[in-house]
C-alpha cells in the first residue's frame, strides 16, 4: 500500500492517514510505503502518527518505509532523529521493490546457505 502525504501534515492529516491505513492493518504482514515527496511541513503529531503506524505494522510482522522524501521532510526527520528509525528510499518504486526482494532473498539465502562443516 502506498500512501502519499500532503504538503502540510499535522494532526488532522495524521488521522486521515491512520484511517486510510486501517484495511492494511487488518492484513497479515502489512507493507506500507509513505510517499513524502510533497511534504513541506510536518509537525510532531504527524511524526507521532508515523511512529504509531510503524509500531502497529511491526506487531503484524510488516514494515513501513518512507520514500521520495522532500528536503524539508528530510530536515525534520533528521532533526527529530527519526531518520535513524525508518528505512528511507529515494523513490516509491524503490521502496516497493525492496519489499518484494528482501524477504524472498532472506528466505532463499537461509535455505540455500551452506551448513558449516563439522570437523
Amino acid at each position: 500500500m502506498v500512501i502519499k502525504l500532503p504538503e502540510h501534515v499535522s494532526a488532522k492529516e495524521a488521522r486521515t492517514f491512520m484511517r486510510a491505513l486501517q484495511p492494511e492493518l487488518r492484513r497479515d504482514r502489512p507493507r506500507v510505503v509513505v510517499d513524502m515527496s510533497a511534504v513541506k511541513d510536518i509537525d510532531t503529531a504527524a511524526l507521532d502518527m508515523l511512529l504509531e503506524c510503524m509500531s502497529k505494522i511491526a506487531r503484524r510482522d510488516g514494515a513501513v518505509k518512507l520514500a521520495g522524501i522532500s528536503p524539508e521532510a528530510a530536515t525534520v526527520l533528521e532533526l527529530t532523529r527519526m531518520d535513524q528509525i525508518f528505512e528511507m528510499f529515494p523513490t516509491v518504486s524503490e521502496a516497493a521493490s525492496s519489499f518484494s526482494v528482501a524477504p524472498v532473498d532472506n528466505k532463499l539465502s537461509d535455505e540455500a546457505s551452506p551448513q558449516p562443516a563439522v570437523a
Binding site: 511541513d41 509537525d43 510532531t44 503529531a45 528536503p71 530536515t75 532533526l79
Partner: protein
C-alpha cells in the same frame, strides 16, 4: 580625525526610486543578483545578526571607534530588529523605512558637511571587512583622488572614502554628486580578512573563522575552559557536554544531557532543551530548541532552520520542535537560576517559613521515635 562615517545595513535592494519600504527577501538567495544586493539572513539584515555575543554592526562600530572615528551614523535599508537600535548608542541612528533610504542618507551627509567633516567613509554591511582605516585614509590622501573604493582580490567591496569638498561644491542631491565622482575613483587593494556574507554558509564560516582566530572577532564572554566561552548568566546543566570550540551566549540555557559540539555558537537568550545535540550550528538569539533533537549543519533562528548541507530553509510550525523562547519560558528559567540547579521550590530557597516547617517536621519525627 575629522571623518564622518555612514554605515548602511543592507537589507533589501534599493534603487533610484526606492522609498525604503521594499519588502525584505526571504533569505540570502542563491540567485546571483540577490547575493549582491539582498543580504538578509533568515529574514533579518545579516549586519544585525549576532556573532559570538555581539552583532556584526556593533563590532564594526567598535572597530571604527578604535581607529578614532567619532561621527558614525547607521542607516538601514530596511526595518531592523530592536537589538541593533541599542548598538548605535552615541551614533546618529536612522532607519531606511522612514523617510526612505536615500533621503535619510542625503540628510546625514548634509549634517556632516555642516559640521565641517573633511572626509566621508561609506560602509555597507554587506560584506564584513577587517579594514585598517588608517592605512586606507593614508592611501586616499596620497592618491589625491576625491574618491577611493576598496577592492579585495575578486571584487569591489562596499567601502568608499570620499572627500567632502567636491560634495559641498556640486549641485543636485548628494547621491548625484557622489555618483559624479565615481569615474575619478582610485582602487585600494585590501588583502586582509573579508567575508562577503552573501549566503548563509558565509555567515557560518565567519563564526568558524572567529573561533579559529582567522579573523579579529573574539567571543564576548569569559573563557571557562580552553575554547569554550560563556556569556553573562549563561546556564549550562552539569550533565551537558560542551566540546570546544563553543560559545554559549548571555542568559542562554543548556539543559540536561545536551551535547554542543562542532564549533557551535548558541547566541543570547536561547534555550536548548534536555537531550538535544547541536553540532556545527549557529543558533541565533532568542531561539528555543526542543527536547531530544539532533540539530546539525544548520543556522537556526526562531522557527526557521537553514540546513547548510541541503541549502534549504525550513520553517517549522511546531513550536515543540523549534521556535522562539517565550517570555514565560525565560521567566521560569530565570526562576530556576535564582533557586539553584535543581530548580525545586522550597529545597534551595531558604526562608523563615521553610525553616519553621523543617523544624516542625523534625519534631514530628522526633515524637514518633
Amino acid at each position: 580625525m575629522n571623518i564622518g562615517v555612514i554605515v548602511t545595513i543592507a537589507g533589501s535592494r534599493h534603487s533610484e526610486t526606492d522609498d525604503g519600504r521594499g519588502a525584505p527577501r526571504k533569505r540570502i538567495d542563491n540567485n546571483a543578483n540577490a547575493k549582491a544586493t539582498s543580504q538578509l539572513l533568515m529574514g533579518s539584515p545579516v549586519g544585525s545578526c549576532d556573532v559570538l555575543g555581539q552583532s556584526i554592526i556593533d563590532r564594526v562600530v567598535a572597530r571604527l571607534r578604535g581607529f578614532g572615528a567619532q561621527r558614525i551614523s547607521i542607516i538601514s535599508e530596511g526595518p531592523l530588529p530592536g537589538c541593533t537600535a541599542s548598538s548605535a548608542s552615541g551614533s546618529l541612528y536612522r532607519t531606511g523605512s522612514t523617510p526612505g533610504f536615500w533621503p535619510a542618507w542625503d540628510s546625514v551627509v548634509s549634517e556632516y558637511l555642516n559640521q565641517g567633516v573633511e572626509t566621508l567613509l561609506l560602509v555597507r554591511l554587506g560584506p564584513y571587512v577587517e579594514l585598517d582605516l588608517r592605512d586606507l585614509l593614508r592611501f586616499h590622501r596620497e592618491s589625491a583622488s576625491p574618491l577611493t573604493q576598496v577592492y579585495n582580490r575578486h571584487t569591489a567591496l562596499d567601502l568608499v572614502v570620499v572627500d567632502a569638498a567636491p560634495l559641498r561644491e556640486g549641485t543636485g542631491s548628494f547621491r548625484t554628486r557622489l555618483s559624479a565622482l565615481i569615474p575619478q575613483r582610485q582602487r585600494y587593494s585590501f588583502t586582509g580578512y573579508t567575508n562577503l556574507l552573501a549566503e548563509p554558509a558565509d555567515f557560518r564560516r565567519l563564526v568558524q573563522d572567529a573561533f579559529s582566530g582567522q579573523c579579529g572577532m573574539r567571543p564576548v564572554g569569559r573563557e571557562v575552559r580552553s575554547g569554550i566561552w560563556y556569556g553573562e548568566r549563561a546556564r549550562v546543566d552539569r550533565s551537558a557536554t560542551i566540546l570546544a570550540p563553543a560559545f554559549i551566549g548571555a542568559e542562554t540555557c543548556i539543559e540536561a544531557s545536551c551535547t554542543i559540539s562542532g564549533a557551535t555558537a548558541v547566541e543570547r537568550h536561547c534555550e536548548v532543551d534536555c537531550g538535544t545535540t547541536v553540532d556545527d550550528c549557529c543558533v541565533l538569539p532568542g531561539t528555543y530548541l526542543g527536547m531530544g533533537l539532533n540539530v546539525q549543519h544548520a543556522l537556526v533562528k526562531g522557527s526557521k532552520l537553514f540546513h547548510l548541507n541541503r541549502d534549504i530553509e525550513v520553517e517549522i510550525s511546531d513550536s515543540r520542535l523549534i521556535g522562539t523562547t517565550s517570555p514565560s519560558r525565560q521567566l521560569s528559567r530565570r526562576a530556576r537560576s535564582v533557586l539553584g540547579p535543581s530548580g525545586t521550590f522550597g529545597l534551595n530557597l531558604v526562608t523563615r517559613s521553610s525553616q519553621l516547617a523543617s523544624l516542625l517536621t523534625t519534631r514530628r519525627f522526633g515524637r514518633g521515635d
